[in-house]
């Protein structure tokens, strides 16, 4: 995370002081991209006072839906071109079956792509060492941030004054 300093971790039990800590770090010159909030439950960006996170998952969903519909069109209207088969006087290129199969394949494509989108956007699976402490899954809110060299004491004091339960340096570790 840090090029010329160290990474500090401030642990908070409640979301309010964590949000204040984010604000304080910004005041102290830490850019938003040099800090990260990690929590055991999801919080809106507004609650933490963090910039909006962009997700491509809905775009993946849209792409999957289009691919699913294309497959349905191929199966219902494309296959009769490959092998014409008249059944019970029904039209060769019927609309109702396209609606049924189309709906199912749109949903299949959309949700499969949504699932894969989470993997791509979150870079899952990823087993390399990362900044993390197990207290996070016990409900604590961790604020990781880059601390410039020589400023550790100042940042530690600022975080503790906001109610941080613990402020310490961290190294990336195997999860």
């Amino acid at each position: 995370m840090s090029d010329d300093g160290m990474t500090l971790l401030a642990l908070f039990q409640e979301v309010d002081p964590a949000a204040e800590a984010v604000e304080k770090l910004r005041e102290m010159g830490v850019a938003d991209e040099r800090m990260n909030v990690v929590s055991g439950v999801p919080f809106k960006e507004e609650i933490l006072g963090r910039p909006r996170v962009r997700t491509h998952v809905p775009m993946f969903a849209l792409g999957g839906a289009i691919a699913g519909f294309a497959l349905a069109v191929f199966l219902i209207w494309g296959v009769p071109f490959l092998y014409p088969l008249y059944v019970g006087g029904q039209p060769m290129f019927p609309v109702p079956p396209l609606l049924v199969v189309g709906f199912e394949l749109i949903m299949l494509g959309m949700l499969t792509a949504t699932f894969l989108g989470v993997f791509v956007d979150s870079r899952f699976p990823s087993y390399e060492p990362k900044f993390y402490v197990p207290e996070i899954s016990d409900g604590e809110i961790a604020v990781f941030f880059d601390c410039p060299a020589g400023m550790q004491a100042k940042f530690e004091k600022a975080m503790q004054s906001l109610g941080a339960e613990s402020v310490r340096t961290v190294e990336a570790q195997e999860l």
């Binding site: 996170v53 088969l85 199912e104 949700l111 979150s122």
Partner: protein, 478 residues
């Protein structure tokens, strides 16, 4: 005339607040304690648990897989299917298990979308029901196919003559629909499970830690990860609702599109959807009651108010089911052909008549007679029994629709009473046992409660003081 305002007694306010605290969301505990309770429930199993699991596993081995091999070796002649009843109990089991499975994902999705205050502790059990139920559906279809090694013919790809499956047929739609549901219900189980697997990774040792480390995929809970995960869960939750309706409807069309008495009905789509919901919610209630009674710490998570809410839902669904059943009954009774009326008479007075009356009793009479009572709705044992009876009643309904209705056809010389064979009984019980076995095994490796969803619910629900009373207050945190 002077009016005298009586002050609200503080004791009443306190009682009201105590009532609120009966709800899991208004009775918060630290996340570390919730994690410990969930892990303890997974890791505490005495000899009785393993004895039951071993017995069920052996039963599955013999009654399901052993008898299935017997069926494959001897052919479909060992079942009770014969002209004109080629769709026997395997297909009624298919419809039954689809209903159970669909409701699992549907309930989890619906309750998440409408943000109820009782779903946080039950969605995981419902999602397991979706996946374990669809496995039984697939098995039942395989039993019915007979030559199961040719089941790949269902997959839409051309054979050696370049001939493709016929997509004019509802059976090919059915394959698409069930396959879609099978895949997406599995994915829907996995997504909300990822943060819980990370929690298990953080708190486990030895081989369990290694297992959960792989399964958690490196999840930490960063802002990005939560954003992507929550976006996906929202998309899934909204999409699962129409998927459930569509798949159940497509299954109903397998029957309704045939011009047969008892099947050809325009009301079959919604009738199947409501029937699936009826059996699924009842099965979920029975499962939740069993889990609460048998697993450690579950009384904290699965509370009487959970059963109260689900009981109200069961009552409403029961009324909807009865309404649609009556619709499906009265039209052929009044304006149907002679064969339609003969079939109704066959159901009411024939050899399956006990099933017909028990179906009405279990699916409508018992829920209507009992579920209006709050005390009964809040009693897990009674709810377990009611849930179980509805599940049995819905199995009867499926049986009467499939082989029961095939008895009467337009060719009277083929009429025949369906005799269920021991092979079919064994495989039916085998799927029930396999469903139970999957739950038993899952209870040791995967959490039945999602701690992060419980904490999220507890963080977003508070008791707000208004005057002297404490009132529930909810807000979105994600």
């Amino acid at each position: 005339m002077a009016a005298t305002a009586k002050p609200i007694q503080s004791i009443h306010a306190q009682e009201a607040e105590d009532d609120l605290r009966e709800n899991l969301l208004f009775d918060p505990r630290p996340r570390s304690e919730i994690n410990s309770m969930v892990m303890e429930s997974m890791q505490t199993a005495g000899w009785k648990f393993w004895a039951v699991t071993t017995f069920v596993a052996l039963f599955v081995l013999v009654a399901l897989f052993g008898v299935w091999i017997y069926l494959i070796l001897n052919g479909m002649g060992v079942t009770g299917t014969d002209r004109p009843i080629y769709w026997g109990v395997f297909l009624s089991n298919t419809v039954f298990w689809i209903g159970i499975s669909h409701t699992g994902a549907f309930v989890a999705a619906l309750l998440r979308v409408i943000k109820t205050n009782f779903h946080h502790a039950i969605t995981r059990v419902a999602e397991f029901m979706a996946v374990f139920g669809i496995i039984q559906t697939g098995l039942s279809v395989f039993f019915h196919l007979g030559r199961v090694w040719r089941s790949y013919w269902l997959i839409p790809f051309p054979n050696e003559r370049g001939l493709w499956p016929d997509f004019h047929s509802p059976l090919s739609w059915d394959f698409m629909a069930i396959t879609t549901y099978m895949i997406v219900s599995g994915l829907y189980l996995i997504l909300p499970l990822i943060p819980d697997l990370a929690m298990l990774r953080d708190h486990s040792t030895g081989w369990r830690k290694n297992l959960y480390r792989i399964l958690a995929l490196g999840f930490r809970g960063t802002e990005d990860e939560w954003k992507h995960l929550r976006a996906a869960i929202k998309i899934f939750s909204f999409a699962m609702i129409p998927i459930m309706v569509s798949v159940t409807t497509v299954v109903s069309w397998d029957f309704a599109m045939a011009t047969r008495p008892g099947w050809s009905s325009t009301v079959f789509g919604p009738f199947f959807v409501v029937g699936a919901f009826h059996s699924g919610v009842a099965a979920l209630v029975a499962l939740l009651a069993l889990i609460r009674i048998t697993m450690k710490n579950m009384k904290y998570f699965i509370r009487p108010e959970t059963f109260d809410s689900l009981g109200k839902l069961m009552l409403i669904i029961s009324m909807a089911w009865a309404y649609l059943y009556f619709n499906d009954y009265i039209v052929p009774w009044y304006g149907g052909t002679s064969l339609d009326r003969l079939l109704l008479k066959f159901h009411e007075t024939g050899p399956f008549a006990p099933m017909f009356y028990l179906m009405l009793t279990f699916n409508a009479v018992i829920p209507w007679a009992l579920l209006w009572n709050k005390k009964i709705r809040r009693s897990p044992w009674v709810m377990f029994i009611i849930g179980l009876l509805i599940v049995i009643g819905m199995w009867f309904e499926r049986f009467l629709i499939v082989p029961g209705s095939l008895t009467i056809s337009a060719n009277p010389f083929t009429w025949r009473i369906y005799q269920i064979s021991w092979v079919e009984v064994s495989l039916t019980l085998g799927t029930v046992a396999f469903f139970a076995l999957l739950y038993l095994l899952a209870s040791r490796f995967l959490p039945f409660i999602s701690p992060w969803e419980v904490q999220e619910g507890q963080e977003s629900h508070t008791i707000r003081k208004v005057g002297k009373a404490g009132l529930p207050s909810a807000s979105d945190i994600d």
